[in-house]
């Protein structure tokens, strides 16, 4: 904490109140409501709700549909995280290496950060479209009948590609800045000790980049779980049907389409626990990261 | 009437860590007082309590004739110069200097005049429109002083202001600060860990150690009559030689079987003592003329030479003039009895 602090009382409270009120009303209250609703079953005719204990949860975990979505979410998250990180790491390493045009490449690779996921999804819909999509044509060229929105696997492919596309810039920026913050003398010492660029990377650069990488893994997992809503919604054209979807999307679908408040709340709570675990993990990592520095 | 009066002032931090032990002293109007000591001795804490940046745990602090314990720094009529200058980076030099006056509601034309005067005294006039980032360390320090003097306060406080400057600049600024203070006549309290700064700048020195004021006196008093082994070894470079010995109660201290030193002033304590003598108070003689001294290393300083060696089994340093032809080997030392200091072996206080 600061060595010298003001001793006023009413002023800081006044300054904190707006933020706290907003958080109280729009965060804690809904979060509490979700927790609360997850233990109730609403009467379909709107005549009130009935306490059912863990019934909503057990229903969830025994539901084949829910488990299918959970499996897909796992698969999707792992794939998107891996691809987004691998590709951006490669690009960052190269961008760090080249001397000419480094800044141009950086600009060209990072601007996509500013594109909204649903907009990217829209472009994706175009590219993967039945009739007009370039990628569909490409598949047809290879002899494969690609069907977005109809074939589960095809839609999944589109989701993954678009999600990776959106996430590369962020990873790229972090990896690049991580690389550029490795002290020059460390790299020079490595160059003297180890002429092979590839080995140098794995034995010197990557370990130094590890804190950034771990941090990004968590960010990417969070992204794949939650921020891909826009992409998914767009690609399935607001019509979930039997398309692949993530757990977050299912919360939305069940809550707003299916009117299953209890079930949707239970799903929300499950996700809350998941995020809690992830965030705690991330902060533990951050603490160790400080020790690295 | 004293400008600053402190009575049983102390500072204890939460965990029972007493950073400043209860102390009482007065500082006269216009006096330049230096608080000196090693890191962590409490000198900065004491200064900050006077400034109002640290709460006072117990005791009373008066500035002028007001008790200021509970007053905000801004109300104590003080000004402070920080180690890292603490200039407002986004404001010009002029605005930096003027800020304090502005907050007190001084009318603009008065501010302008005062800023100009301060800048004039400190040779900052051509830099008034620059930002701190465009100035050198020495210039920034002068701006920090300008900010202080423009307020015409009752008390100047300096917190190690020269520590961030290179040696040459430090020597220069030392003189400038002293000249400025004499000219303005403002009571000043100056904190430093550098004993040279303390010796050259102070009217009176307060030597602090481990939260306690070990000695208060003029530079000469501190140097020639240190009140404890700590003060003796801290002030003066190279430090005073300190050796254990056995005082026979009657004018001589025995260092070991071969070496006995005569002392001038008798002391009450008999038995084991710590004997201190400054390197320059010893003269070199032939090996059999005086106390035997084994010279190991000769350090050439240009203006003088330091002879490091061994006296009666203990490390000992002698300072000799540049014309001395001393070389490593056996030599003799003649020690002036009146230049010897005796200290209590455990408590370290002067006997």
């Amino acid at each position: 904490m600061k060595r010298s602090q003001f001793s006023h009382i009413s002023l800081p409270i006044l300054l904190l109140v707006p933020q706290l009120i907003i958080i109280g009303v729009f965060f804690y209250w809904p979060a509490w409501r979700a927790l609360h609703s997850s233990f109730y079953l609403e009467d379909p005719f709107g005549f009130g709700s009935q306490f059912v204990g863990m019934a909503n949860y057990t229903r969830l975990f025994t539901s084949a549909e829910y488990m299918k979505v959970a499996r897909f979410t796992l698969f999707f998250t792992a794939l998107v995280t891996f691809l987004a990180l691998a590709i951006s790491l490669l690009l960052a390493v190269k961008a760090d290496k080249v001397i000419r045009g480094a800044k141009t490449y950086r600009t060209l690779l990072m601007w996509v950060y500013a594109v909204a996921p649903p907009v990217a999804g829209l472009v994706g819909v175009m590219l993967f479209d039945q009739n007009i999509g370039i990628i569909t044509e490409f598949f047809a060229f290879l002899g494969y009948d690609y069907r977005l929105g109809v074939s589960y696997a095809d839609t999944a492919l589109a989701m993954i590609v678009v999600s990776v596309w959106i996430q590369i810039p962020v990873n790229f920026i972090f990896f690049l800045s991580g690389l550029q913050s490795i002290p020059r003398h460390v790299r020079e010492a490595a160059m003297i000790d180890n002429p092979s660029g590839f080995r140098r990377f794995w034995e010197v650069t990557f370990p130094l980049l590890a804190p950034t990488a771990f941090f990004l893994v968590v960010i990417n997992i969070t992204y794949s779980l939650f921020d891909t809503f826009g992409v998914i919604d767009t690609l399935v054209k607001n019509n979930p049907a039997s398309n692949p979807m993530t757990l977050v999307y299912k919360v939305f679908v069940d809550g707003f389409r299916g009117n299953d408040i209890g079930g949707s709340s239970a799903q929300s709570v499950v996700l809350m626990v998941l995020v809690l675990a992830l965030t705690i993990f991330q902060f533990r990592l951050l603490e160790r990261r400080i020790h690295y520095a | 009437m004293a400008k600053v009066s402190v009575s049983n002032l102390s500072k204890t931090y939460g965990k029972g860590n007493q950073a400043v032990k209860p102390c009482s002293f007065h500082i006269a109007d216009g006096e330049f007082v230096v608080l000196v000591g090693p890191s962590g001795c409490g000198k900065s804490t004491l200064l900050r309590m006077i400034a109002g940046l640290e709460d006072i745990t117990s005791g009373e602090l008066r500035i002028g004739d007001r008790v200021v314990n509970d007053l905000d720094p801004a109300e104590r009529d003080i000004a402070m110069v920080f180690q890292n200058y603490a200039l407002y980076p986004h404001m010009t030099v002029a605005k930096n200097i003027a800020y304090g006056l502005k907050n007190r509601g001084t009318p603009a034309p008065v501010i302008e005049q005062k800023v100009r005067e301060a800048a004039d005294i400190l040779n900052l006039t051509e830099y008034l429109d620059r930002k701190p980032g465009q100035l050198s360390g020495g210039q920034r320090q002068r701006v920090a002083m300008g900010r202080a003097i423009v307020r015409d306060p009752a008390l100047f406080l300096f917190d190690e202001p020269l520590s961030n400057l290179d040696a040459k600049l430090r020597n220069q600024m030392r003189i400038e600060i002293r000249k400025l203070q004499r000219r303005l006549g403002v009571t000043s309290i100056y904190v430093t860990h550098d004993q040279v700064e303390a010796m050259t700048m102070a009217d009176r020195i307060f030597v602090l150690n481990d939260g306690r004021i070990e000695q208060v006196g003029t530079p000469a008093e501190i140097y020639h009559k240190p009140a404890s082994t700590f003060v003796a070894s801290f002030m003066g470079a190279p430090p005073m030689n300190l050796l254990p010995g056995d005082y026979n109660g009657n004018g001589s201290v025995r260092l070991n079987e071969e070496t006995t030193i005569r002392i001038a002033e008798p002391a009450d304590h008999k038995g084991v003592v710590k004997l201190g003598v400054r390197p320059e108070d010893v003269s070199l003689a032939a090996p059999d003329d005086g106390v035997p001294f084994q010279i190991d290393v000769v350090e050439e300083l240009g203006a003088n030479r330091l002879l490091h060696g061994n006296l009666a089994g203990h490390p000992f340093t002698v300072s000799v003039g540049k014309e001395s032809d001393a070389t490593p080997g056996l030599a003799g030392l003649r020690i002036d009895p009146s230049a010897i200091h005796l200290f209590h072996p455990e408590e370290g206080r002067r006997l």
Binding site: L122 | A74, H90, N103
Partner: protein
């Protein structure tokens, strides 16, 4: 002698450099190739969107997406911006553009103001309540909006703020990111600055306005960029909260288009759609590119 020596040393240093340059060139080409491939991967989809925006819908339907440009670029953009569309026929691209702008700026400004003063209160005041407030705010990191989406909607509906700008912007402010960021930044401001200001007679308010805020200028700019983009690109929340087309943002409007595309029996207006998509992309992308260095700085600092 000396001259001959120096000749020797010159040629010795030149040799390795030449050798190095030859070897390096091959791998540099590979590096550039990879980077160019990456850049193309990023750019081609949007390029195709642009070309699509320059053709007639019928043309697209027949020929599929093409790499060449057509003649209808201006016409499609014009329609996207000014033609009335949507189910009620009341909304134009320009209105959506304005709404996006309001959301982006409103959110960014709200976020910065709220989090700056909260962070200031937490860092610069000796207040036990501040620790509680800090943890209360900190916990919001744990749950992103998507997870509490249903009850959040109910709350807004209950207060009657659906289809309002307030309902659109304010709930999004319930997160800790800005406060964290400014807290970290304030902690890095030297202590002596506050002390000097206190001695200069500046109270907490004066210190904040005269010194802290000007000091934070670059950070504020960086955060503004990130928050503006975030607000502009909001999808899920506007989807739920705004059902009146007059309040649609560009991104929200996209959803409507997709729906129409799925349900419609006519040929979708590809050209116009892509023009709208490009318009939706343009402002955030432009800001990110123009203020790149601030943006990167803010991103890297804020995510830590």
């Amino acid at each position: 002698m000396a001259v001959a020596d120096s000749y020797l040393s010159v040629s010795q240093t030149a040799e390795p450099a030449r050798r190095k340059r030859r070897g390096v060139r091959l791998s540099t080409i590979a590096d550039h190739a990879i980077l160019i491939a990456g850049a193309l991967f990023m750019l081609v989809p949007v390029y195709l969107a642009l070309t699509t925006a320059s053709h007639e819908a019928v043309h697209i339907q027949r020929e599929g997406l093409s790499f060449g440009f057509g003649d209808d670029l201006v016409k499609n953009f014009d329609a996207a911006l000014f033609a009335k569309g949507g189910f009620t026929g009341a909304i134009t691209g320009t209105t959506m553009l304005m709404n996006s702008f309001i959301l982006g700026v409103g959110f960014a400004v709200g976020k910065i103001v709220l989090s700056m003063i909260a962070a200031y209160a937490i860092v610069y005041f000796r207040l036990r309540f501040a620790t509680f407030a800090f943890w209360a705010i900190f916990t919001t990191i744990l749950l992103p909006l998507e997870v509490r989406i249903v009850p959040s909607y109910e709350v807004i509906q209950g207060i009657g703020l659906t289809n309002t700008y307030t309902g659109l912007i304010v709930p999004l402010l319930a997160s800790a990111t800005g406060t964290f960021f400014f807290r970290q930044f304030f902690l890095s401001v030297p202590d002596e600055l506050v002390e000097a200001a206190r001695i200069d007679g500046a109270g907490p308010v004066k210190f904040f306005i005269d010194i802290l805020v000007p000091l934070s200028r670059t950070m504020i700019a960086a955060i503004f960029i990130i928050m503006f983009v975030y607000g502009w690109n909001q999808y899920l929340w506007p989807t739920l909260i705004t059902t009146e087309e007059g309040l649609f943002t560009l991104v929200r409007g996209i959803r409507q288009i997709i729906q129409a595309m799925a349900e419609g029996s006519q040929i979708p207006e590809y050209g116009r759609m892509m023009a709208l998509a490009i318009i939706a992309m343009l402002p955030p992308v432009a800001i990110v590119i123009l203020f790149q260095s601030w943006f990167v700085k803010g991103l890297v600092e804020s995510e830590k």
